[in-house]
Symmetry: C2
Subunit: 116 residues, 2 copies
DNA sequence: GACATAATTCAATTTTTGTTGAATTATTAA
DNA sequence: TTAATAATTCAACAAAAATTGAATTATGTC
């Protein structure tokens, strides 16, 4: 995998609107949600949501298919796992013991971390 | 509010330069590297690298400390694991079996994923 | 102290993103 | 076939990010 390609995927998650959309779709995997429901859940104007959904689809993190007059969006869980594998590849030069030790320290829920 | 904080972290990984820097530091965890070595490895102009390192440090994904006249940068593995947990939280919420199936088919070392 | 080295900050410019309302396309229902 | 609904595209503007070279700060060496 090319870092230019992967950075585009992280760019898709670099807006709080898109991150919220993606997490909503991850929670609602594998069924996904139609655009109107996403807009309702997250209270984002339709026109702005379209802009962000387009970016997510272009990144590959989200897929879309027509369903009558609705558009159904789904998170691509395999791609999500791929970028996690990319990010963590050869962590600590492949020393799994070192990584596991970090893992034990990481049980901070980012939801509760202070703002910067 | 929380997603604004996490999206800033993904923003830090949304440039291919910064993504390359971060992965280099992940591979070289836990020791890290000094700025000049990063510049040499990745062939990035010092002034531009400083700009990107600053963004990484501000996101919290990278830490820095002075070492004589060198600056040593290190990846924050615990924060990396936290944002992975944030991204994958409640995946396939109603259907954990579905989520386990996705994981089994992926290339992710389970060390880096929260239990499900 | 004077000089070299490591790295950063600053200022200027260019490029890219995000947001909004109005107009448009696609589909279904009356 | 007309109207209603779902969603997108378009155009305009506002805001933020990337890049560069010159100047600056901090540290170590002669």
């Amino acid at each position: 995998m090319e870092s230019k390609y992967v950075s585009k995927i992280f760019e898709a998650l670099s807006s709080d609107v898109r991150l919220d959309v993606f997490r909503l779709l991850v929670r609602n995997a594998p069924a996904g949600l139609v655009a109107g429901d996403i807009a309702k859940f997250l209270d984002v104007p339709a026109t702005n949501l379209s802009f962000h959904l387009k970016a997510l689809v272009q990144s590959g993190l989200v897929t879309v298919e027509r369903e009558g007059r609705f558009m159904r969006y789904k998170a691509s869980i395999p791609l999500m796992l791929d970028i996690i594998a990319y990010l963590t590849a050869e962590c600590c030069s492949g020393n799994p013991e070192c990584c596991r030790k970090f893992r034990a320290e990481s049980h901070v829920d980012p939801t509760f971390l202070p703002e910067r």
